[in-house]
Each structure stands twice: as C-alpha cells, then as structure tokens.
Amino acid sequence: MTFVEMAYRWISPSASNVVLPVDTRQVTIIRAPSFARFSLINSLTELAHYRDLLYTLTVHRIRVRYKQSVLGMSWAVVQPVSMMIVFTVVFSLIARVPSGDVPYAIFAYVGLLPWNFFSGSVTNSTGSLVSHAQLITKVYFPREILPITYVLAAVFDSLIASSVLAALMFYYRVPLTINALYTIPIVVVLALFSLSMGLLLSATQVRFRDIGMAVPLLLQLWMFATPILYPLSAVPAQLRDIYALNPLVSIIESFRQALLSETAPDLWSLAKSALISMMLLIASYSYFKRVEATMADKI
C-alpha cells in the first residue's frame, strides 16, 4: 500500500475502496539496443504517434523543392519528358528498339514514370539521414520518417508527371482500359520496395559514406537491367530467369501492361514482387531500427 493510499484511508475510513486517480502517462523504458528486442508493432505504433510530423515533413519536402524556382512544380514534368525525348530520339530513330503496338515515346514514358519514382526516392532517401545530421543529433523522432517523407514526396512528383502521360495517351489515341486500376496496387508495391531500399541504404550510409558515391552508379546499372527502354520480350529467353530476379522487372512490366495493353498484368509475378518487397521491407526496417539506436553517435 502506498503512502497516498494510506493517507486516503485515514481521511475517509468508510470508503475503503477509494479509486485513486490512475496515472495515464505513457511509460518509456530505454535500454541498450539488441536485435532480439525489435518489435515491428512497437515501431509502427510509435510511427503512428508521429504521423503529424510525417505529414508536415512531406508537405515541407514538396514545398521546399519548388520554392524560389521560376518553373516551380513543372520541374516534376520537365525531367521525365526530356528523358523521354532523348531516349525516343536515340532508341526509336537511331537504334530502332521494338515497342509493340504503341509509339516508342509513350512506351518509354510509361517505363520512365515508375523508374523515376524509384530512382528519385532511393537517391533522396539514401542521403536523408546524413543531410539531417543537425536534426538527428539534437532531437528525437523516429528516424525512418526522413526516408519515408522522400518516398511520399516522390509519389507526389509522379502524380504530376503522370499528367503528361494522360496528354500523351490522348494525343496518340491509346485507349485506357479498366486494367489501369491495377496501377494502384503496383505503385504500392513499388513504393514499399523503394522504401526498403531507402531504409537499408540510408542506415548504411550513416557509417559508410561510400554508399552516397555508389548509389548513382548502382541506379544507372539497375536502369539498364530493367525493361524501361526496351520490352521484356527483347531479353534472350535463356537469361529471363536471372533477369526476373530483379523485382523491378515484374513491377515495371506490369505497370506498362496495365496502362497500354488490353490483357491484365500477370498477377502471380506481381504477387511474388509484393511478397519480396514486404520481406525486404521488414528486414531493412529492423536493421534500420537497430542502427537508429546509436545513429546520433556515428553520423
């Protein structure tokens, strides 16, 4: 019996079962880090608690990116459009890469849209921790918020960039089918995969700055190992199995199929990508949380 309870009983002996005001405060216990204690549920609960910060920071990313620039939001369009033009000139007029029944411009743009989302969010989220070192050493918040906000901001950029896709499809008279709805789960899988890469690379970069140098190179190689500028059918059959180990292959291929073809995308391969992305995400998230514990000391 605590002293307070005793005091209560002494004051009012009749009311022996006085309900004391319960302390509703949340108790936090901080201990040394260990892999064994990683709890996905606890981490997600904490993240949910900080959802306002997640929202504010995402909006902030989008605002800051286009502040004090004349073109503003249209930069989100300029980049993929100019890439598309360059690749169309090179691969359609000079190299003559097959693009099926659709014009090469639209074929390339549909591939570039998810690719730009992926490469943009991976590049930005990889550097997100190191570029916020000032903040990380001063204030606590779940650090995964930083990479996540870059992925979310990339979603926003992609939405703007897809307005060009709508214009292209209208111009080339490519009909939009009900299959286009498949793009929603595909984008979700792509975002999860990008996030798992972002978490893994950003946490590693805290200790090894080599990552910052390696990522642009890695992305360049990765781009050519993904059917963005050429169709999947152009890959030699005996290499397909190895080729398909790249989760982006089925993601981008399904994305293109959902928008440009009349047949539905291969759900089985998409499900495999979703599963791989989920598993990667959980693994990289637990790794991230482990690094997070002492991140401020190393950054």
Partner: protein, 426 residues
C-alpha cells in the same frame, strides 16, 4: 511519483583514431585499420538518479563530465550501452533553439515544422499559433521566409515554439542564454509557469546562477560519474570547490621572484564575527580577513592588500591599508594584519583572494600571493545588484511620529552602535 529514473546507466563511445602516420598501403591493411583503430571511452559510468514529479533538477559539471551525454540519453537521441532509463510521461527537450527550421519556409510554416519535430500535434500548434507568434514578437514577419529574419527574431521564434510545448517532463539545455535581457526574463517566467503547473524539469547548464535560481536539487557530474546529489546550494558549493579550489594554492606565483624576500605572506584566512575561522561568509555579515606574514628584517613604509576576484577573473573588491593615513612599519618576526569589515558587501558566489604587500612610496610589490585563498559567499542579506551596500532605515510618518531612543540613528555614533556590534556581543 518518480518521473525519471536512471538505473546504473553507462554509455561507451568508440573514438576512432584518424591515423596521422602512414597507414599500410595494402587493401587488407586499410580495412583492418578501419575496423580496429579505435579507443573506448566511457562518457557516462554507472549513473543512477531519480527525479520526482514536479521537481526541478539541475545537472552541472565541468566540460566533459557527461552532461551532454545524459541529455542525449534522456531525450532518446542515443541509447545507453548498459543500464535502464525509465521515463514516465511525455518528455520534450528544448535542446537547441531553431532546430528544424528551414530557411526557405515562412515563419508560419516553420512553426508547424519545428513544432511537429518537437513532438507537437498539428492541432495543438494551430491552437497555440497566435500565442507563439505573440511571444516571439514576429507578428509582422510571420509570412516571410525565416532566412530573412534577424538572428534575434530567429532565436525568439525558436524558443517561443519550444516554450509552448506542454510536456510532462521538460529538458532544458543552455538555450536560455539567447536573446536580449527582456526576452530572457520572459523565458524564465515561462519556465517558472511550467514549474508551478507541476512540470518536471531537468536543467543542464554551466550557468550556476541560473541553476541556483531555477532548481530545487542538483546533480554534480564529474568524469561521467555522479559526484554529488543534493540541495542545489550545497552541490554548487562542491562544484565550485572542485573547479576553482584546484587552482587555489596549487601554484602561488610571486611577482618578485627574488631568491630571498625580506617579508613573506604566509597565510590568508577568513573569520566570522565570533573569530571562528571560516571558508564561507554571508553577504551583509561581519567579516574578517587576516593576512599572516613573516618578516626577516624590520621594514618600513608598507601597505597590505587583499583583492577579491570572482570566478570569471573580475576584481570585485579590495581591502587595503593604503586607505589609512600612515603606512605600516614592522619589526622583525611573524605577525598578522587583520581587516575587519562590519558588513560584507560581496554578493553570493565564489571569489579568489590575492594578498599583496607593497611599499607605499614607490609601489613596489614585495610579495604577491596569487589566488591565495578561496572564499565562498553565501546568501545572507539578500539584495539585488552588484554588491551589498550597508544601510539602515528609519520610518517617519507625520501622524504618528516614531520616538527613537536618544542618540540612535540621529547621531554619528549611531552608526557604530548598529546591529553589527550588538550582534558581536551576543
């Protein structure tokens, strides 16, 4: 109710040595060095303490004592190597004003950004927006990017956001040393309000005055360990003795380094009105300083001085025989010059005292004992200002004239018969 608990907390850092010498050129050598070339360093060693609800704890200690590490551990920025920290409630750290500001965003946008980084909900920020802007005094510039702000405005806005957090537990760093005097007063007021509301506060600072002003209890850290834990005044006293005491008597430097001086200062001691030797005195109390000397030959034309310096090296006060009409003439042998001060004018703090002997005619320093003694002045007669000036008072009201005993405060002798001497007869 315990709001904060440190239970045997330790924190180890690995400091990597950036090898200046030639590293072996082979690749394997480089990797080996990268992995192994570090030293271990315990920033915090087995620290345990508790803070009860509504208490204000000050954490003090010299540089490198582990204060910042404790702050980082408390605010979850980093985790301990061993031990356990329990936090009961919502904790907010006011660590650096303006953390999380983005220069391109406007004041208003930054309030939301910085506020949510500090853990506020958007709804809470919206509710307190007006109050935050008002407190910071940046109403006219709230939609201007903060990169156009003056540094004062920047800092005020940062503090204002943090001041509007309503945590159960508040961590404070040296952030109070910002802004002008008026703004600082506002900040202290804010902290006092939070304290009265029952917020548990941990204040980590070098500013002993601020710690004494704000805290009920203090914790002294030294080389990562708890050296003292108790009432603020006592702990500050111990801290000052560690920091300044070490320099006292450690290296008395005489300015005249002659091999043999005709007279040497052998001691400087302080006494209270009962002639008891003391290390501390109270402001406004009678106070005695005694300079002991040993003269190897008869000397003429001397003046004795005691100088009091505050810990930051400023000269605060001097006791001197040179204010008298005649210099002192000494015979061979030991002796004492005693300075009596009816009411000590020094304000609370730590002072070092120098004692000197010099010739009045040419001012030559015959002996100078640098930082010879340490005097701690405790609050006695509490007045504001730089020093306590001895004063008396008399009330007159025309309707009901007060009858003073004859010869009390009216006559010049009234000064001499003041409380000081009466007390010394007690």
């Amino acid at each position: 109710m315990i709001d904060l608990k440190f239970d045997g907390v330790s924190k180890k850092y690995r400091i990597r040595r950036e090898a200046g010498r030639a590293v072996s050129s082979s690749k394997s050598g480089r990797f080996r060095n990268f992995a192994r070339n570090y030293e271990e360093f315990w920033a915090v060693k087995n620290v345990s303490f508790q803070v009860t609800r509504g208490e204000t704890l000050g954490i003090i200690g010299p540089n490198g004592a582990g204060k910042s590490t404790v702050l980082k551990l408390l605010s979850k920025i980093t985790v301990p190597t061993s031990g356990e920290i329990t936090i009961n409630g919502r904790l907010s750290a006011l660590i650096e004003v303006g953390s999380g500001f983005h220069p391109e965003l406007t004041g208003r946008e930054n309030i939301y950004l910085s506020g949510s980084i500090l853990g506020m909900r958007r709804r809470e920020i919206t509710e307190r927006l007006d109050s935050i802007i008002e407190f910071a005094g940046v109403r006219g510039f709230i939609d201007t990017p903060v990169k156009r702000y003056s540094s004062g405005m920047y800092v005020r806005l940062g503090f204002s956001i943090a001041a509007h957090l309503q945590p159960d537990i508040l961590l404070l760093d040296e952030v109070l040393a910002v802004g002008d005097a008026a703004f600082q007063a506002k900040c202290y007021e804010r902290i006092r309000t939070l304290r009265e509301r029952g917020t548990t506060i941990v204040f980590i600072s070098h500013d002993l005055n601020a710690v004494e002003f704000l805290c009920d209890r203090a914790l002294l850290l030294s080389s990562g360990e708890v050296a003292a834990d108790g009432l603020t005044r006592d702990v500050i006293g111990q801290y000052e003795e560690i920091v300044y005491g070490a320099s006292v008597r450690s290296e008395p430097k005489g300015r005249s380094n002659g091999t043999r001086k005709p007279i040497r200062i052998t001691g400087l001691t302080f006494r209270d009105y009962q002639q008891r030797e003391v290390l501390s005195a109270c402001t406004g109390d009678p106070f005695i300083a005694r300079v002991e000397f040993a003269a190897s030959e008869p000397l003429r034309d001397l003046d004795f001085d005691v100088f009091y310096y505050s810990s930051d090296g400023r000269l605060h006060c001097q006791f001197s025989t040179s204010v008298g009409q005649y210099p002192l003439d000494l015979d061979r042998g030991d002796g004492v010059v005693q300075f009596s001060c009816p009411e000590l004018g020094l304000q609370p703090g730590v002072y070092y005292a120098d004692a000197t002997i010099r010739r009045r005619t040419d001012g030559e320093q015959i002996d100078w004992q640098y930082r010879f003694a340490l005097l701690r002045v405790e609050p006695g007669k509490r007045v504001s200002g730089r020093f306590y000036a001895p004063h008396r008072w008399r009330l007159t009201q025309p309707k009901d004239p007060v009858q003073f005993p004859p010869g009390f405060a009216d006559s010049p002798s009234g000064w001499d018969e003041s409380g000081v001497l009466e007390r010394s007869n007690e």
